[in-house]
C-alpha cells in the first residue's frame, strides 16, 4: 500500500500570459533531474484554430530542487518542432518522455496527425537533445514505433526506461474506435517493447494490465519505476464513453511486477484519489513517479486531463 500526501498544484498554464503556444493544458509531465533544479516536460496548447482544433507542443518548467513548489524557469520556445506536411507528428507532440543517454538526452514522444473518419492517429517518434534538454532534433521524419497487425492505430503515451542495460518502452496501443454521440472515441491498452539500442524495438504484443471497469476500459500513462525489490507501475484508466465526467473519467491505477513483463494489478494499493474539491476533484490522470534526494514524488494531472496544469504528491509510506 502506498500512501501519498498531496502537495497541491505546481503549475497552471492559464497563469502564463506571454507565451502564445502555452495557453492551456500542461499534460503528461516527465522529469529530468539536474543538480540545482528538476526540469518537468509537459505538453501544452495554443488557443484552438477557427475550427476549434488544437495542436500540442512540448515545453518545460524548471522547479527548484530544494523547493519543488518554486518555478525558476519556463521554456521560451517549444523544445520540438511539429512535423512536415503528411508526417506522423504534423499536428502535435504529446506526450514526451525523456531519458539521459551519455551526453545526449533522448525524447520519445507521441506524434499526432489528423484523419478524416476518426479525429486523429498517433505514432511514437524519437528526438535527441545535445544542449541539456533545451531543444531537441528529430532523428528522422518518421516514427520509431509504428503500427503492426495487433497494434493497428494510436500508438501513444511512450514512457522510456532502462533497466539492466535493456531499454524498455511502455506505451499504449489503440484497440478499437467506438462511435458515441457522433464522435469517435479510442479504446487503448498498455503495451511494451524492448530494445538493445533504443532505436530498434521488439514489441512483446501483449496487454500488460487487466481491464477493471469494463472490457473497453482505456488505459494510459504506464509509468514504471523500481523500488524495494519490485517494479511498480502507476497508470491511469477511464471508461470508454462519457469519460469527460467525474464518474467515468480518469483515475490512477497500480500494478507490480518482478520481471517487467508480467504485472499484477491492484488498484487498492494506489493510495491516491480525487480531492473533495478543487483542481483535481474530478479526475486524476497521467501519473509520473520519480525519486530525488531520498524521496519519491508523483506528478499528475487533475480535472479535464491537465487543462489547468499538474500537481505533486509525496510518498509518505509504502508497504508491499
Amino acid at each position: 500500500m502506498f500512501k501519498w500526501k498531496k502537495l497541491g498544484r505546481i503549475f497552471n498554464p492559464l497563469e502564463i500570459r506571454d507565451i502564445e503556444w502555452m495557453k492551456e493544458f500542461a499534460q503528461a509531465p516527465s522529469v529530468l533531474i539536474f543538480d540545482k533544479f528538476i526540469r518537468v516536460y509537459f505538453s501544452c496548447r495554443p488557443l484552438p484554430d477557427e475550427n476549434g482544433q488544437y495542436v500540442s507542443y512540448a515545453g518545460y518548467v524548471d522547479l527548484n530542487r530544494s523547493n519543488l513548489s518554486e518555478i525558476v524557469n519556463i521554456s521560451k520556445n517549444p523544445v520540438l518542432k511539429l512535423g512536415e506536411p503528411g508526417t506522423f507528428d504534423e499536428f502535435g507532440t504529446y506526450p514526451t518522455s525523456v531519458i539521459k543517454n551519455g551526453n545526449d538526452i533522448l525524447a520519445y514522444y507521441g506524434g499526432w496527425t489528423r484523419c478524416e473518419s476518426v479525429p486523429f492517429n498517433v505514432a511514437i517518434g524519437l528526438a535527441v537533445s545535445q544542449d541539456n534538454g533545451t531543444t531537441f532534433n528529430k532523428v528522422g521524419p518518421g516514427p520509431i514505433l509504428s503500427y503492426s497487425p495487433e497494434e493497428p492505430f494510436v500508438l501513444s503515451g511512450p514512457k522510456i526506461r532502462k533497466f539492466n542495460d535493456l531499454w524498455y518502452l511502455y506505451y499504449i496501443s489503440g484497440r478499437k474506435w467506438i462511435m458515441a454521440d457522433g464522435r469517435a472515441e479510442p479504446v487503448y491498452k498498455i503495451r511494451m517493447a524492448t530494445s538493445s539500442d533504443g532505436k530498434n524495438w521488439i514489441k512483446i504484443n501483449k496487454d500488460l494490465i487487466d481491464s477493471k471497469v469494463e472490457e473497453d476500459e482505456a488505459q494510459a500513462s504506464p509509468d514504471v519505476f523500481f523500488y524495494q525489490e519490485r517494479y511498480h507501475m502507476f497508470f491511469c484508466y477511464r471508461y470508454s464513453t462519457s469519460f469527460r465526467s467525474k464518474e467515468k473519467g480518469y483515475r490512477i491505477g497500480y500494478a507490480y511486477s518482478k520481471d517487467l513483463i508480467n504485472w499484477i494489478r491492484d488498484d487498492t494499493k494506489v493510495g491516491m484519489d480525487v480531492s473533495e474539491e478543487g483542481w483535481d476533484s474530478e479526475m486524476l490522470a497521467y501519473p509520473h513517479v520519480f525519486e530525488i534526494d531520498n524521496s519519491i514524488y508523483m506528478l499528475y494531472l487533475g480535472n479535464q486531463v491537465g487543462r489547468h496544469g499538474f500537481g505533486l504528491a509525496k510518498l509518505e509510506s509504502y508497504k508491499p
Binding site: G86, C115, P149
Partner: protein, 317 residues
C-alpha cells in the same frame, strides 16, 4: 525485351461489379490455375460524400485470355474497420501462392486532413483458393518508419529460396505549392525481406535510380525471374501535372538484377510504350508480370490510371 500487345482484355464499365463499383480496374494481379487465370483488380465505389472507396474484385479468364468465364459476385475482402489503415480502400491486393494458401498483401488507404491519404501494407490470407481473404490482424505488416515517413504501399511479394522478398514504395515528400490545388506526393521503390511473410526487415534504401529528376515518382514494382536474372518492371511519372498531361504521365520502367540486391535501371529495354490512339495511348501504369504455361505476360493499365480497364501483353523475346 520485346512485348506484343494483345489489347485490352477487361473493361469494368461493361460488367456488373460487387459493392456497387462502377469504373476502374486498377493494378491487375494474376493467380494462375490449371484451366484459367484469376485476375484481381481494384475497382471503385463512390461513398455518400462522393469520395471513392477502392474494393477488390476479380475475373476468371481462360488461358487464351479471350473469354471471361466468371466475375466475382461476392466481396473478396472487406475494407478495414473504423480508423484502420485500409478503411478507405485496398489498392492493390498483391497475390502470392504460398503452399496451400494464397497470400494477399494489402495496399491499404486511409484519408487524412492536411494531405489526401496515408497508406500502409497489410496481410490477408485465403484458404479457399483466393475467393475470399481474411486479415491476420487489423493493423499493417509494413508501415511508416524513421526514414520512410509515410505512404508505404504498392506491395509486390515473391518467394525465392526460403526468403520472402517484398518490393514496395514509400513516400519521401509531399509537395505543397501554389500551382497545385492539393499536395502532391513523391515516392520511391524500396525492398524488405522476411522469413515468414509477416515480420519484415526493410533494407532502408532506395533501390531504383531516378531517370526524370529527383522528384520522379516510382510505383508498383513487379519482379520476375527468367534466364538467370531478376527483372523488375514498374511505372514512373513526373510529380505534378501528370493526370492529364500525356508527356508527364506514367510510363513503364525496367531494371534488372543478378543478386536481388543491386538493380540496374534500363528503361530502354522495357520494350513497351504508349499506343498512338487507343485505350493506352496517354499512359501506361501498374504493370504485373507473370508466368503462365511457359509464356511470360504483362498485365497493365492504360489511360486515366485504369478507369477503363486493363490490357495484356506477351513477351516475344
Amino acid at each position: 525485351m520485346n512485348w506484343k500487345k494483345l489489347g485490352r482484355i477487361f473493361d469494368p464499365t461493361k460488367y456488373k461489379l460487387v459493392n456497387n463499383c462502377m469504373e476502374f480496374a486498377q493494378s491487375p494481379q494474376a493467380l494462375v490455375f490449371d484451366d484459367f487465370v484469376r485476375i484481381y483488380f481494384s475497382t471503385r465505389q463512390k461513398d455518400k460524400n462522393g469520395k471513392y472507396l477502392s474494393h477488390i474484385s476479380f475475373i476468371d479468364i481462360d488461358k487464351n485470355f479471350e473469354n471471361i468465364i466468371n466475375v466475382s459476385s461476392k466481396t473478396v475482402i472487406e475494407l478495414g474497420d473504423l480508423g484502420c489503415f485500409d478503411e478507405h480502400g485496398i489498392f492493390p491486393l498483391n497475390i502470392v501462392r504460398d503452399k496451400d494458401k494464397v497470400l494477399g498483401y494489402i495496399g491499404g488507404w486511409s484519408r487524412r486532413v492536411s494531405v489526401s491519404v496515408e497508406t500502409s501494407i497489410g496481410l490477408a490470407i485465403s484458404s479457399d483458393n483466393g475467393l475470399t481473404f481474411k486479415r491476420i490482424g487489423a493493423g499493417p505488416v509494413l508501415s511508416s518508419s524513421l526514414y520512410e515517413p509515410f505512404l508505404v504501399g504498392d506491395p509486390f511479394v515473391a518467394i525465392y529460396g526460403n526468403i520472402y522478398h517484398m518490393w514496395y514504395i514509400y513516400g519521401t515528400k509531399w509537395i505543397i505549392s501554389k500551382t497545385n490545388s492539393t499536395p502532391e506526393r513523391v515516392y520511391k521503390i524500396g525492398h524488405a525481406t522476411s522469413k515468414d511473410g509477416v515480420a519484415w526487415q526493410k533494407d532502408g534504401r532506395r533501390i531504383i535510380s531516378n531517370k526524370l529528376n529527383p522528384d520522379e515518382c516510382q510505383a508498383l514494382p513487379t519482379v520476375i525471374k527468367f534466364d538467370n536474372r531478376y527483372h523488375m518492371f514498374f511505372c514512373y511519372r513526373q510529380a505534378t501535372d501528370f493526370r492529364k498531361n500525356r508527356d508527364r504521365g506514367y510510363r513503364i520502367g525496367y531494371a534488372f538484377s543478378e543478386d536481388l540486391n543491386n538493380w540496374i535501371r534500363d528503361d530502354d529495354n522495357a520494350g513497351i510504350d504508349v499506343s498512338t490512339n487507343d485505350w493506352d495511348s496517354d499512359m501506361l501504369c501498374y504493370p504485373h508480370v507473370f508466368h503462365c504455361d511457359s509464356k511470360i505476360y504483362m498485365l497493365y493499365n492504360g489511360n486515366e490510371f485504369g478507369r477503363y480497364g486493363f490490357g495484356l501483353a506477351v513477351l516475344k523475346s
